[in-house]
C-alpha cells in the first residue's frame, strides 16, 4: 500500500452520490437544437469556420482554435447550421456569448474518421496535436486545454502523472460511473498520457467512497504499471493542488504550476476523451453528465451531446420544475447557478443539480462573525478566512493580499462550516475581482504616466538641443572672432573648414569632394576631440588629486603634438592646393570658406606691427582679467587647492606674456 499524505482542513459534507449511480450511463439522445458556445475552455474562444445554412456532419470541426491556449469545437451530430449568434450560456455572470446553433437532422451522420491504435509510432508533438485538434479541454470542471498542459518544455522532467478520479464534490458521480463502466478506456487514456510525458510513475487517485470504481480500475490496470491509490474521503481532495499533496506530499508553489514540482494532473474524463480521440479518432463531442437533485424523479448519468439544452436533459430525468428552487451547473460546493434551463451543456459540465428548497435551503441572512475559527480549521490551503472576511469588508486590499487571498481556491469549505452563514467565498471572489481591476487600472495609469513623461522629456530634449545649437553657434562665432585676431592661429581656417563642411554636407548631400582634404580634415577634428577629452580628464584627475595625473599629462602632450602634426599636414596640403585654386574659380562652398579664411589671415598679416602688437596686448589683458576673476571666484568658493594653484599659475603666465607683449609694442612703436 502506497503512503498517502494529508492536507490541512477539509470538510465532510453529506455525499448524496447514491441516488445518481443506481442506473448505468444512459444515452441522452439528439435534441432538435444544439447550442454550442465557442468558448468552452480557459483561453481564447474558438472562431467559427462554418456559415449559416451549411450542412455539417458529426465530428466536423465547426470552429477552429485561435491561439495556443485554445481548442477547436466540433459538430456533435449531423445537421444544418441554424445560426451563429449570441446566446445565454452557463456562466456565473449569466451573460450572452457567441454560439453556433445546429438544427439537428437526427441522422447522426459521421464525418469519415479513423483513429491511430498504434499511437506509439507517432511523434509526441503529433500526438499532442491530435489531442488538441480533438478539442479536448480538462473535463473536471476548469476546462484547461489538455494539449497545453501536455506541451512540456524539453528540459522538464515529470516524475508523477496523476489521473484524478477523486470526484470529491457531493452529488457528482460522472467520474465515478465512468470509472465503473469504462475503466479500460481510462487506463488506455492514461497509457497514452504516459507515452507522451514519460513520467516515472502513473497514479490514479480515488477516494475510498467509490469501492466499485476502485475494483474496476484495479482489474483494468493489471500489469499496466499504473497504480490505483485510494485515500480517505474528504472534501476537497479532488482539487488539483490537494490531490498532489495527498499523493506526493509536495505542494505546488503559490502562483506556480504542478509541473514545477514534477507533477501533471489529468481528470479521468479527460483520459477517456484522449483515448477516444487518439485510438478511435473521435473528437470531444459528448460527455458524461450527472443529472441529479430531489426535484428529479430519476436522477442519473447521461452520455450527452455538447450543446444539449439543460431543459432537454432535465426532462429526460423526470424534472419537476415546480419543486426546483435553483439550477446549479456543477456540484453544491463549487457549482454556479444558471439563469435559465435553456442554457447548453458544455465540455466542462460534469453535473446538473436541480435541488428542492428543503434539500439546499436558501441561506438565512448572515449573522455577525464571531471569529470562531471553524473556517480556518476547514480551509484546505491554511488561510485565515475570518481575518480575510474582516479585511474584505473594510476593503483593505493590501492586507488581503498579505493574507494570501489569491491562494484561495474558492472551494467553499469556509462558507460551509460558518455558523453565522456568512457567504465568505463571495467576499473573496468580489475582492479578487476588485484587486485585479485595480491592478489593471494602475497599470493603465502607469503606462499613461510613462507616455506623458516620455513626451515631456522629448519636448525638453528638443528644446535643449535647440538651446545647445544656439550656444554652440554663439561660441563658434566668439572663437572665430578671437581666433581671427590671434597671431599665427590656424583656427580660423579650421573653423571655416568645419563650417563649410557642414554647409557642403547639407548642400550636396554627401557628394564626394577631395578625399585627401577630407581625410586630413577628419584627422584634425578627431585629434582635437581627443585632445579635448584628454584635457577634461586631466583636469578631473587634477581636481580629484588622482594618481593618474602624470600619465594623463603625458597623454595630453602626445595628443597635442599629434594635433599639431595633423594641422601641419592639413596646412601643407592647403598651401599646395592654394596655388592651383588661385587660378580657377572656387568650386564649392568649402573652398570658398577656406579662401575667405585665408583672406582674413592675409588681412591680419597686412596690419602694421604696431597695431598688431596693440591688439595682442589688449587681448592678453582681457584674458588676464578673466583669469583673475575666476581665481577670485575659486578662492571665495573655497575650491580645491589644486584648482586655485592652476589658476594662479595661469595668471602668472599671462602677466608674463603681457609684459612681453608690452615690450614688443614698445619696440614696434620705437621702430
Amino acid at each position: 500500500m502506497r503512503k498517502t499524505f494529508g492536507f490541512h482542513g477539509g470538510i465532510h459534507p453529506p455525499e448524496n452520490k447514491r441516488q445518481s449511480v443506481r442506473t448505468p450511463i444512459a444515452e441522452a439522445g439528439i435534441p432538435p437544437e444544439l447550442i454550442i458556445p465557442l468558448a468552452q475552455h480557459i483561453g481564447a474562444p474558438a472562431s467559427a469556420v462554418v456559415t449559416v445554412g451549411e450542412r455539417v456532419l458529426k465530428g466536423q470541426m465547426i470552429a477552429d482554435a485561435r491561439g495556443f491556449v485554445s481548442v477547436p469545437v466540433h459538430a456533435p451530430t449531423s445537421g444544418v447550421i441554424h445560426a451563429i449568434e449570441d446566446r445565454l450560456i452557463a456562466h456565473p455572470s449569466g451573460h450572452l456569448a457567441p454560439c453556433i446553433v445546429i438544427a439537428t437532422d437526427g441522422k447522426d451522420e459521421w464525418l469519415p474518421h479513423s483513429g491511430t491504435p498504434d499511437y506509439e509510432a507517432l511523434d509526441t508533438a503529433d500526438l499532442i496535436n491530435v489531442i488538441r485538434n480533438a478539442g479536448i479541454a480538462g473535463m473536471g470542471g476548469a476546462g484547461f486545454p489538455s494539449a497545453v498542459k501536455l506541451s512540456l518544455k524539453p528540459d522538464m522532467h515529470i516524475a508523477t502523472l496523476i489521473i484524478n478520479g477523486t470526484e470529491c464534490e457531493p452529488y457528482i458521480t460522472a467520474d465515478d460511473i465512468l470509472m465503473r463502466e469504462r475503466a479500460d478506456h481510462i487506463i488506455a487514456g492514461a497509457k497514452i498520457l504516459r507515452h507522451i510525458i514519460t513520467p516515472d510513475e502513473t497514479l490514479i487517485g480515488v477516494e475510498d467512497n467509490k469501492p466499485e470504481s476502485i475494483a474496476a480500475l484495479l482489474a483494468a490496470a493489471q500489469d499496466s504499471g499504473i497504480e490505483i491509490v485510494v485515500f480517505p474521503t474528504k472534501y476537497p481532495s479532488g482539487g488539483e493542488k490537494q490531490l498532489i499533496e495527498i499523493l506526493t506530499g509536495k505542494q505546488v508553489p503559490s502562483g506556480g504550476l504542478p509541473s514545477q514540482v514534477g507533477v501533471i494532473c489529468q481528470n479521468v474524463g479527460t483520459a477517456v476523451a484522449i483515448y477516444e480521440a487518439v485510438v478511435q479518432g473521435r473528437p470531444l463531442i459528448s460527455r458524461v453528465t450527472t443529472v441529479t437533485g430531489n426535484s428529479l424523479r430519476e436522477p442519473q448519468n447521461f452520455q450527452v451531446l455538447i450543446g444539449t439544452p439543460m431543459s432537454y436533459l432535465l426532462e429526460r430525468a423526470g424534472y419537476q420544475a415546480e419543486k426546483n428552487n435553483r439550477l446549479i451547473m456543477g456540484g453544491p460546493m463549487m457549482g454556479f447557478t444558471v439563469p435559465d434551463a435553456g442554457v447548453p451543456i458544455v465540455k466542462t459540465t460534469n453535473c446538473l443539480l436541480a435541488p428542492t428548497e428543503s434539500e439546499l435551503p436558501t441561506p438565512p441572512p448572515a449573522q455577525a462573525c464571531i471569529r470562531c475559527g471553524l473556517c480556518a480549521e476547514a480551509c484546505p490551503v491554511s488561510l485565515l478566512p475570518q481575518q480575510m472576511f474582516w479585511f474584505a469588508q473594510g476593503k483593505e486590499f493590501d492586507k488581503l493580499e498579505h493574507h494570501n487571498l489569491f491562494d484561495c481556491i474558492e472551494c467553499g469549505a469556509c462558507s460551509y462550516v460558518c455558523p453565522s452563514h456568512i457567504p465568505l467565498v463571495q467576499y473573496y471572489r468580489a475582492s479578487k475581482a476588485e484587486i485585479l481591476q485595480l491592478r489593471r487600472d494602475h497599470e493603465k495609469a502607469e503606462q499613461s504616466r510613462i507616455r506623458f513623461e516620455a513626451r515631456q522629456q522629448r519636448l525638453e530634449q528638443a528644446e535643449a538641443e535647440k538651446e545647445a545649437k544656439r550656444a554652440a553657434r554663439k561660441l563658434a562665432a566668439e572663437q572665430r572672432a578671437q581666433a581671427a585676431s590671434t597671431e599665427g592661429a590656424q583656427d580660423p581656417i579650421e573653423a571655416a573648414i568645419e563650417r563649410a563642411k557642414a554647409k557642403k554636407a547639407s548642400q550636396q548631400g554627401g557628394v564626394s569632394a577631395e578625399s585627401e582634404l577630407d581625410k586630413l580634415e577628419k584627422a584634425v577634428v578627431t585629434t582635437r576631440k581627443r585632445l579635448d577629452t584628454a584635457t577634461t580628464k586631466l583636469e578631473e584627475a587634477r581636481a580629484q588629486g588622482s594618481d593618474l595625473v602624470e600619465a594623463l599629462q603625458a597623454g595630453v602632450e602626445k595628443t597635442r603634438s599629434k594635433l599639431a602634426e595633423a594641422e601641419q599636414a592639413l596646412h601643407n596640403y592647403l598651401a599646395s592646393q592654394n596655388a592651383v585654386s588661385a587660378e580657377r574659380p572656387p568650386q564649392d562652398a568649402a573652398q570658398a570658406a577656406i579662401e575667405k579664411a585665408m583672406a582674413a589671415r592675409a588681412l591680419d598679416a597686412a596690419l602694421s606691427p604696431t597695431e598688431k602688437a596693440r591688439a595682442d596686448l589688449a587681448k592678453l589683458q582681457q584674458r588676464l582679467q578673466k583669469s583673475q576673476d575666476s581665481l577670485a571666484r575659486s578662492r571665495t568658493n573655497g575650491d580645491e587647492a589644486k584648482i586655485i594653484e592652476a589658476l594662479e599659475s595661469t595668471v602668472a603666465r599671462l602677466t608674463e606674456k603681457i609684459s612681453v607683449a608690452q615690450q614688443q609694442l614698445n619696440t614696434a612703436e620705437h621702430a
Binding site: A321, R326, P332, P339, Q367, C372, S382, L384, D407, P423
Partner: protein, 342 residues
Amino acid sequence: MALIRLTSPHAHGPMSTQRVMQNVLLATVPGIIVLTHFFGFGTLVNIAWGSVVALACEALALKLRRRPLGFYLKDCSALVTAFLLCIALPPYSPWWLIAVGIASAILLAKQLYGGLGYNPFNPAMAGYVILLISFPLQMTAWAPPRGLGEMPGLLDALQACFSPQLYDGITMATPLDLLKQNNSLLIDDLWQQNPQFGRWAGIGWEWANIAFLAGGAWLLYQRIFTWHAPVAMLASLSLLAAVFYDGGSSASGGSPLFHLLSGATMFGAFFIVTDPVTSAVSVRGRLIYGALIGALVYIIRVRGNYPDAVAFAVLIMNFAAPFIDYYTQPRTYGHGGKQGEP
C-alpha cells in the same frame, strides 16, 4: 418556482451561531449545579436576574441602533454574557450590582463597539472588572461553602438580591484569599487551621472547577472550540505553580493542583479564554494567547493585589490578541515548507 441565483457554496453545514451559544449555555449547567449545591441558590438568582437585565440591555441597544430585535436576540449571545458574568459574581449579590455589571458588559463592552463579533474585550470579564474596581467590598463577599455555616434558602437568596438591606448573610474568605493573606504558616498548617480547604483546594471550589472542566470537555467534543487556548492556559499555570511551589513553605504560591482547582481556573479556561471573538485566531496564536493568560493568572494571584486574576489576565491578553494574530499567520499552501521534495 422561479430559479434563484446564488453563489457557491450552495450546501451548508449544520452549525449555527445560535447553536454555538446554546451549547455554551448548556455546558455551564454542571458548574451551576455544583455552585448551587455548595453555596446555595445565590448563583441561580444571580443568573435569573442577570439574564433579564442582559436581554433588556441588548434590546435597548439594538433598538437605539435600529437593528432587528428578533434576529439579534435569537443568537443568545446576550444570555451567554449574562450566564458567564453571573457565575463569576459572588452568590447573594444585590440586584443593583448585577444590573450595573450586566449593563457595563452589554452596553459598554459589547454594543458600543458594534455588537457581537466586534467587541475587542470579553464583555463578561469587562463587566466583572468594572464591578471589582468600583465595588470591591461586595465583590469579595463570598458565602461560606456548605457545612461551614447556615445554608440560606431560596427565599433568602431572593431577599439578598432584591432587598439587600434586609439580608444579613455571612461571608467567608475564599481559599485564594487565605493563601494571599498567609505570610507565616506553612501550607500544611494553613490547610489545617482553615476549614475552607478541602481535599485538593477549597471546599466546593474544587468540585465547581471539576464541573466546569466537564462542561468544557463536552464543548470540546462538540467541536465548539479547539483545545489549544484552554490547554495552553492550564499548562502554563500548572508549570509556574510547580516551579514556585517550593514544597509548601509559608512563602509558597500553592501547588499546581490547588491552582487548577481554585477560583475561576477551569471556568476561565473553558468559558472565557475560549471566547473566539476576543482571542487570537490561528492555532499558534491561540497557544500563545492561552499560555500567556495562564502565566498572568499565576503572577496576579501570587504577586498581585487581587486574590483571583482570570478577569484581569483575560482583558490584558484581549489587548494583545491582534498583535499575536499579526505574528502567527499560518503558512499558506504553496508558500515555502513542503514545496518540491516531501
